[in-house]
């Protein structure tokens, strides 16, 4: 079609009465300026017989009429006759000129402006999606595009794309855009998958970032994909199973597996409200962290739990197949009413999930299930057995801890360690007191943080101390990796940490940076040490035992908090503290105003934590939590349910899942939930080549021009072409890209067969 148009256009502009000739063939629609241009050239300039004396003068290159011709200024000629700029194989080569049209700038027929934009996909298709399990790597998403600035290939990595996709801030937190409440954009924003809609008190529609995966509309995250993601996560995390087995050799393989599964990001399931396990879901939107938050939960206004349901169904299927490891056919979604449920197995599973999964799971109903005492005793035995060997070295650890604390903390540290030792005593009272001592030391953990950044030597001492006390041992294996860090010089400017050159194990240990991670852990410690623990009957029993509790019979609510605070008042500078209590505080903090400031800071921090509600994030050593297992579940459920909103908010506050997933999914090769497109736009000022009478009108180099010569490309390659073109073909720009050259040659051959070998008159077309 374009070929014909070119032909017609040539007739119109070059032949006399061209428009009239074409009028019988086609209807022309021309802009007015083009029509004016067509009539600009007077007939005497075209026809020799009308030119008069100017005609022979033009031929003979003689100045006449006393006026130079505009077009020949460059060559100082005075006529419009033009000699060829160059000669190419008996053919003349001419240069083109631009011309002016009224009210426009110079127009060069040899040029046109072209906008060029490209997009590239970084998405996975086919079997590479999620089913590859352990084989999946983030680099599968990489793509290789052509970098025209350097004339070479360029690999776009997934991380580079994610960091520049304008969804995350520089620090990894989700980006918030202004004006999201604009209802005009509803039609589009509704389809943005990481936004969810809310209605405020006035009924106005608001759009906010999704905070948990359950907010993702199932339209964008269908069930099959969720199931694949679940399977992929399990496969990808499989390597951690060994870690957990090493953590707790006393547990069976099945229990270890539950322990591992419990850390999977599953906090909600689906099912009928009457389901026992179904109560885990809609009421509970907690989360766990396994080197990254991936919370599956539901929100009332979105998705109706379909995402979570699909995830849990997938996980449930997998767990079901592993039933023998769990001691039976445990089924997360088992309904006890239909007779398929095994009460003991479900209890065991629940117990393990609660102990190691660390989601604020609570069950409601007329018959709250009490966890088995046997399991509790086993856990206690495991704790003592694990701690005892390390305590044998306590004589060396205590002085180091005292050094770390900076003051006369030796007595306090020894008391703590001895308290742990006393936990082995058959006397329950001493055991409880030991636990209380640990809790109080957890409250004082900011001291540990301060020492953490002091020097590598002290860090090593802390690690040694942590190894002895197991305080920092968590269900996630943090202690193991934390101990590994003792070999490193930990500082904010540590190059290994900042540049991410640590081994994968250490990267997992501190995806956010060591200091942040520690602070987060300690915040969680603090939360557990206050609001949560004070609600438990065992804690209330402790309070009563110390004679300072006032909420032993009050159940939940704020009563327990007062008793808890009063218990800790002696540690944190209460006005009513005794002289001996002040000395104990002084053993933990520097004296004088500085010490008082530290105490005040700690009190302020703890007060803040108390107000944020109870939260279990799986950061605490389950061995320190065995006491919780004897709590009143109904009471705990009421407490957790009432704090549900805060739980979700707090969890998100501490660990934005997208930030975690951005880092950890890539480092751990877990399938990310996104695809990437790359857009590249450009604008080209295109040149046109005009072939006049078999002669090239412009100097051109590329292969597409060679197609159009009268010589086939094969002759070019074989060297029968003039040296100029031959050299062009041999230029590195062409020869260096073999695959391209190969394709180009074949295409040249085909094109020549199609076009050049079939001459249509004297017209040769591309």
């Amino acid at each position: 079609m374009l070929r014909r148009e070119n032909f017609m256009w040539a007739i119109a502009i070059k032949a006399e009465f061209g428009l009239e000739k074409l009028d019988s063939q086609i209807t022309w629609v021309l802009p007015p300026k083009v029509a004016s241009y067509l009539r600009l050239v007077p007939a005497e300039k075209v026809h020799y017989y009308l030119a008069g004396q100017e005609g022979p003068d033009r031929v003979n290159d003689i100045v006449s009429a006393g006026r130079p011709h505009e077009s020949n200024k460059i060559s100082n000629r005075t006529q419009d006759i033009v000699e060829p700029y160059a000669v190419f194989k008996k053919n003349n080569v001419f240069l083109t000129r631009s011309y002016h049209v009224e009210n426009t700038g110079p127009i060069d027929l040899m040029n046109r402006v072209s906008s060029v934009g490209e997009y590239f996909k970084m998405v996975r298709t086919g079997d590479d999606d999620c089913n590859v399990g352990n084989h999946y790597m983030s680099c599968y998403n990489n793509t290789r595009i052509y970098n025209e600035d350097e004339d070479t290939g360029y690999t776009v990595t997934l991380m580079e794309a994610l960091k520049n996709c304008m969804v995350f801030n520089d620090d990894g937190t989700p980006r918030q855009l202004d004006g999201m409440e604009d209802p005009l954009d509803f039609k589009d924003l509704e389809q943005v998958f990481w936004l969810r809609s809310e209605t405020d008190a006035s009924g106005k529609l608001l759009f906010k970032n999704i905070e948990i995966m359950g907010d993702i509309d199932p339209t964008f995250c269908p069930a099959e994909n969720v199931a694949n993601i679940a399977r992929s996560m399990i496969n990808s995390s499989g390597k951690l199973k060994d870690d957990y087995r090493q953590l707790d050799n006393a547990l069976t393989q099945g229990a270890a597996l539950v322990q591992y599964l419990a850390n999977l990001p599953i906090t909600a399931s689906s099912g009928d409200v009457s389901d026992r396990a179904g109560n885990w879901q809609e009421q509970i939107a907690g989360m766990t962290s396994l080197d990254g938050i991936k919370a599956i939960a539901t929100r009332d206004d979105k998705a109706e739990g379909q995402v979570a349901k699909a995830f849990v169904d997938a996980l449930n299927t997998i767990v079901g197949t592993l039933g023998p490891l769990l001691g039976g056919s445990a089924n997360l979604l088992l309904n006890p009413n239909n007779g398929r449920a095994n009460q003991t197995e479900v209890d065991t599973l629940y117990e393990n999930l609660f102990a190691y999964g660390l989601v604020p799971i609570a069950r409601t109903g007329p018959n709250p299930v009490n966890v088995s005492r046997t399991r509790l005793n086993e856990a206690l035995a495991a704790i003592t057995d694990a701690i005892a060997p390390n305590l044998d070295n306590s004589s060396n650890v205590v002085p180091r801890v005292a050094t770390i604390l900076g003051q006369a903390g030796a007595a306090e540290a020894r008391r703590l360690l001895l308290g742990l030792d006393e936990a082995r005593s058959p006397d329950p009272a001493k055991g409880l007191e030991a636990v209380m001592s640990l809790l109080k030391f957890i409250e004082a953990n900011p001291v540990m943080v301060q020492a953490q950044s002091a020097s590598p030597t002290e860090t090593a001492a802390i690690v040694t101390w942590a190894r002895a006390t197991q305080v920092y041992l968590t269900a996630k294996g943090t202690t193991k990796e934390f101990m590994g860090l003792s070999n490193l010089a930990i500082s904010p400017n540590n190059r290994q940490l900042t540049e991410g050159k640590l081994p994968p194990t250490y990267r997992r240990a501190s995806p956010l940076g060591l200091d942040e991670r520690l602070q987060q852990d300690l915040l969680v410690f603090g939360k557990i040490g206050t609001s949560f623990w004070e609600q438990t009957p065992i804690m209330q029993a402790i309070l009563a035992q110390h004679g300072q509790g006032n909420s032993a019979a009050g159940g939940g609510g704020q009563g327990g908090r007062g008793g808890f605070d009063s218990l800790f008042a002696d540690e944190f500078g209460s006005a009513s503290r005794s002289q001996s209590q002040q000395q104990r505080v002084g053993s933990l903090f520097p004296g004088g105003a500085e010490g008082q400031q530290a105490v005040d800071d700690l009190r302020a921090r703890r007060s803040h934590l108390v107000d944020t509600g109870a939260l279990l994030l799986g950061k605490v050593d389950p061995r320190l939590r065995f006491g919780v297992l004897s709590h009143n579940l109904e009471e705990l459920n009421a407490h957790v349910t009432s704090g549900l909103e805060r739980v979700v908010a707090s969890a998100y506050f501490f660990m934005p899942w997208r930030r975690q997933s951005l880092e950890s999914m890539l480092s751990r090769n877990i399938v990310p939930n996104f695809g990437i497109i790359g857009f590249r736009i450009g604008l080209y000022d295109m040149a046109l080549g005009i072939k006049v009478g078999g002669t090239w009108g412009t100097c051109v180099l590329c292969c597409c021009l060679i197609v159009c010569t009268n010589h086939g490309p094969q002759s070019v390659v074989q060297g029968r072409e003039p040296d100029g073109l031959h050299r062009v073909w041999q230029q590195p720009l062409h020869a260096g890209r073999r695959c391209h050259d190969h394709g180009a040659l074949r295409k040249l051959h085909l094109l020549r067969q199609e076009h050049c070998d079939q001459p249509r008159g004297r017209v040769h077309c591309l």
Binding site: T143, N147, N164, D188, A687
Partner: protein, 183 residues
């Protein structure tokens, strides 16, 4: 030149110059791009799309729809093809990059606006040539197997990497010596 039929035009022999978008530098700050003012300092926009979106139109508009918003009356609102976005997160990225905005009438264009001095107004993108990661090749990129071949708007005569074509204008016809045209 006596017979006008001897004249024909061969398009897109080489680009005289390029105004941007050739490299791989990513846009990561809204200050780097302004379609109205013609600010286009980088090369690549990275777009995040939902997981399930794996196929896109061969030619699409970065703003999500072809230069015509459904409310402008240019396209049939009832036609599902006109209602469907080319990619679902267009609203988010329109917010950031202002390819199209309800707030700014200058961005409510119904037809492509581009000028030689303003490459940023170009919103139409073709699927480009790219090599996919081939995990079966142990990390290699197998262009023969995993490449997505597409010549974008360049037509069939330009191969994937067309720098040689693009730089054609940098070459000047040198003086003819010994009757042989040199480049």
């Amino acid at each position: 030149m006596t017979n006008p039929e001897d004249v024909f035009i061969a398009y897109d022999i080489f680009p005289n110059r390029c105004l941007g978008g050739m490299g791989v530098r990513p846009y990561n700050n809204p200050a780097q791009y302004d379609a109205v003012q013609g600010v286009a300092m980088r090369d690549i926009f990275y777009i995040m799309v939902p997981y399930r979106e794996v196929s896109f139109p061969t030619i699409m508009d970065m703003a999500g729809r072809f230069y015509t918003y459904m409310d402008s009356g240019m396209l049939d609102d009832e036609d599902p093809a006109n209602r469907e976005l080319h990619y679902s997160t267009a609203g988010w990225y329109n917010r950031i990059w202002r390819w199209r905005s309800e707030d700014d009438v200058t961005l409510q264009v119904d037809q492509p606006l581009y000028a030689l001095s303003n490459p940023g107004q170009n919103r139409i993108v073709w699927q480009g040539a790219q090599g996919k990661y081939n995990h079966m090749a142990h990390g290699g990129y197998n262009y023969n197997r995993d490449i997505i071949r597409n010549k974008s708007p360049w037509g069939p005569n330009v191969y994937d990497g067309h720098k040689a074509c693009r730089d054609g204008s940098l070459e000047r016809t040198r003086v003819v010596t010994d009757g042989i045209l040199g480049f």
